[in-house]
Amino acid sequence: MRLDRRGFLQHLATGSAVLSFGGVVPLPLLVSAERTVAERILVVIELQGGNDGLNTVIPVTDPLYRRRRPTLAIPQSEVLSIADGMGFHPALRGFADLLEAGQLAVVQQVGYPQPNRSHFESMDIWHTCLRKDQQRPDGWLGRWTERVQGAGGDATALHLGPDKLPFALMSRSVRVPSVRSLEEFRLRGAEDEKFREAVQSLAETRRDEPDDLLNFVASSTASALTASERLATAAKAAATDVVWPQSGLAERLRTVSQLIRSGLQTSVYYVTLGGFDTHAQQPDAHRGLLRQLSEAVQALLSELRSSGDLQRTTVMAFSEFGRRVEENASEGTDHGTAGPMFLAGGSVRAGLHGQRPDLADLQDGDLQFSTDFREVYATILERWLKVDSVDILHQRFSALDLFTA
């Protein structure tokens, strides 16, 4: 017998499937009779490699900036002026427009105490809000998914992209789907009913031995099969006349837009953009990356505005650290500490937030942070996703004034 999608989901939710994962319920198993649209959406953009914050949001009038960056400083005439002697890198034209339209908030000098300058360790700190000497089984958004109920059978969070599932989305009990591309997110051979039913039921078969790895794979397999069924029907939002730039990030955000507009009930989307580790020949590489970021976010917001989804969407961009104030001899910069975060969407309090970088007050040649990234997370959890943040962040952080609604 071939089951339709709802029947299929109910079959999963009511059958033995839920019992067979040793307490691990694949994310999309919760079925509600009515489809309620996920109220608020968060799109996370991870900038990998350590974005050079100083050349992104630039203290253009600070003479120390030019002194420390004799070859890399962006000429004042090219900087897109914002306010208070600060300005955007010229490649951030899209961000400047969003700021103008009241859709972009910049939080300056975001970091954390005793900064770690290893890419991998610092990224793990951002993802888990924990240090290396603590137990780190899950990420902050993974902990969030455990505390919210998915609606309509859809995953509460999705990762889109070719890389591994980000630590931020890992959970002890929920398997967040990772989608490389919608076209490839299908099981071949599933057209054949007999085969599909066999595969589905085999993934759900109870495993006698409570082997952690095996149960992890079994629940992930069941979750993958379910999510692929759902996305196949969800990915059919109408095309719009927004012109998307040609880039990997734009492609992923375009998929995000499609899924949001098609009424998928997912609240958190996670994408990444790599290449920010500019130790050498920084100018061209950095310009290209910032342009890619700014143009893709602009296209996303513009499409969501036309579909009426802008007010309920917030984009958050972060990187694991900023870069050293002093440039190196390879026309590049080495690993540093604090840097800017970006929030974009129809409900953000636009403008510059936090303290501007103080180039006269460095520690080991690096900028000192003035806003803890966990304060930004707390703001997003409490003021945007409307959940208590203490359990998720393991500590109370005060929320900032970053949203208008």
Binding site: R175, R207, L213
Partner: protein, 449 residues
């Protein structure tokens, strides 16, 4: 049984009959880990010997000269077009065809350890040279391996050392030398990085070769990890390698690569092995011999306690069934599953373990298995899958299944799965057998090795 042993005893040689059986299944485990997998003939030959004899053959085996020269010819052809992708396919073909599996498995380990990506190093000759370097020194002296990697042009370009001048040293290589290659994160200070970077100033790449530019070399005194002086780059590498954590760090990575993804009580487990590695002057070969021949390796703590990498998944299937296929397409497919050979995701290489698995890679793995099994270009001992199995006297679905389980699975599959798969294969047609194998390869158990 193994859980009652002390840590010291876990590292003692596995004794067949005392610690467990040395049978076809145990030999299949050894070949899956110390290589990519073995077909029935190889397994039957293996159980005629002792485990240590088989391990020594794996460690000492030499590629026949004609195989080496064929690989050299193919590599030259692969790089002639000026891009790296064909070279990635060349390596896939090499892993599939080599008579010396453990060598390729270990080269793949070092490639992930000293990860260098062709997305940045676009010159195929340099990627090939590095690959050959890793092959030459895979079982050798870790000191020599690090010294040569430090001057390897692909590495110098990948970590920006090629433009490392004395006025403002570039810290990229110095950081990763300590964090990722030798000591592990947190075993040094930021000051150590800055001082160490000065030792490598003036190390350049000219016309594809390492060159020392004394005019760009910082000649002042530097001080890091307890050493002080006008230390050269070579001396600096020795200072790093002298740190006692080096042994723990390398042993811990090898343990997770060859033995088990999630070791419990790791520090205690590692200590005897790290001591051996130090006593042996950081020689790789004796370390691997101890690991692969240990009681622990053949115990339930190890068997089935690793998630297959894409390479282990795809090439494992082919090697166990004498398969051959289009290496170019396979190389691309593995890249999509997160393991493009010569295209590691970052200088940290592949994290392995659970990070291989997510909903996309699981669907992708299943789809790749289907493509491999049903593709016209895939041959099993030059035959179709069904003909290959029936040539071995396997005609009933039950017999086919038990043979496939022996060759391909580290852990048993549920009874219900056996029944479904036998039902799928029932008609005995080429398509039915392929469907059955595809369903088998979509089982969660198939992801373990």
């Amino acid at each position: 049984m193994a859980t009652e042993l002390t840590v010291q005893e876990l590292w003692q040689p596995f004794e067949p009959g005392v610690d467990g059986q040395w049978d076809l299944a145990a030999a299949a485990h050894l070949f899956r880990r110390a290589g990519f997998g073995a077909d029935r003939r190889q397994l039957e030959a293996a159980v005629q010997k002792t485990p240590l004899q088989v391990i020594d053959e794996l460690l000492d085996g030499q590629e026949p000269p004609e195989y080496r020269s064929e690989m050299q010819t193919l590599a030259t052809a692969a790089i002639s077009g000026g891009n790296v992708e064909p070279l990635s396919a060349w390596w896939v073909y090499r892993i599939l065809s080599t008579p010396v599996q453990l060598l390729e498995k270990t080269v793949l380990f070092w490639h992930g350890h000293f990860a260098t990506g062709a997305d940045k190093v676009t010159e195929p000759q340099l990627m090939l040279n590095q690959n050959q370097l890793l092959r030459r020194l895979a079982f050798g002296d870790f000191h020599e391996l690090v010294q040569q990697i430090a001057k390897d042009p692909a590495m110098l370009l990948y970590l920006d050392s090629a433009s490392n001048r004395k006025a403002h040293p570039n810290e990229n290589f110095a950081r990763e030398l300590m964090e990722l290659f030798c000591l592990g994160e947190g075993q040094y200070t930021e000051r150590d990085i800055r001082e160490l970077a000065r030792c490598f100033t003036g190390w350049e790449v000219r016309r594809g070769e390492y060159r020392f530019n004394r005019f760009q070399h910082d000649t002042g005194s530097r001080s890091f990890l307890g050493a002080t002086g006008v230390l050269s780059g070579e001396e600096a590498v020795q200072v790093v390698l002298r740190q006692p954590q080096t042994a723990e760090f390398i042993v811990s990575k090898l343990l997770r690569y060859f033995m088990l993804d999630e070791p419990a009580g790791q520090a205690e487990l590692l200590a005897p092995l790290a001591q051996q590695f130090r006593d042996d002057g950081l020689q790789i070969r004796p370390l691997l011999r101890t690991m692969l021949g240990s009681r622990l390796f053949f115990s339930r703590q190890c068997v089935g306690r690793k998630l297959k990498s894409p390479v282990e998944l795809a090439l494992g299937l082919l090697r166990c069934l004498e398969g051959s296929t289009n290496a170019v397409e396979l190389a691309k497919a593995m890249q999509q599953l997160g393991q493009g050979l010569l295209y590691p995701p970052s200088v940290k290489g592949w994290d392995g373990g659970r990070t291989w698995i997510n909903s996309s890679t699981l669907l992708g793995r299943s789809n790749l298995m289907r493509r491999l099994i049903t593709s016209e270009t895939t041959r099993f001992g030059r035959l179709s899958l069904r003909d290959y199995l029936s040539a071995r006297g396997l005609q009933r679905p039950e017999d086919m299944l038990s043979e496939l389980q022996l060759l391909l699975f580290a852990v048993p599959i549920p009874e219900a799965a056996s029944r479904s798969i036998i039902a799928l294969m029932k008609s005995g047609s080429d398509t039915a057998v392929a469907e059955g194998l595809h369903a088998l390869c979509t089982l969660p158990e198939f992801q373990l090795c």
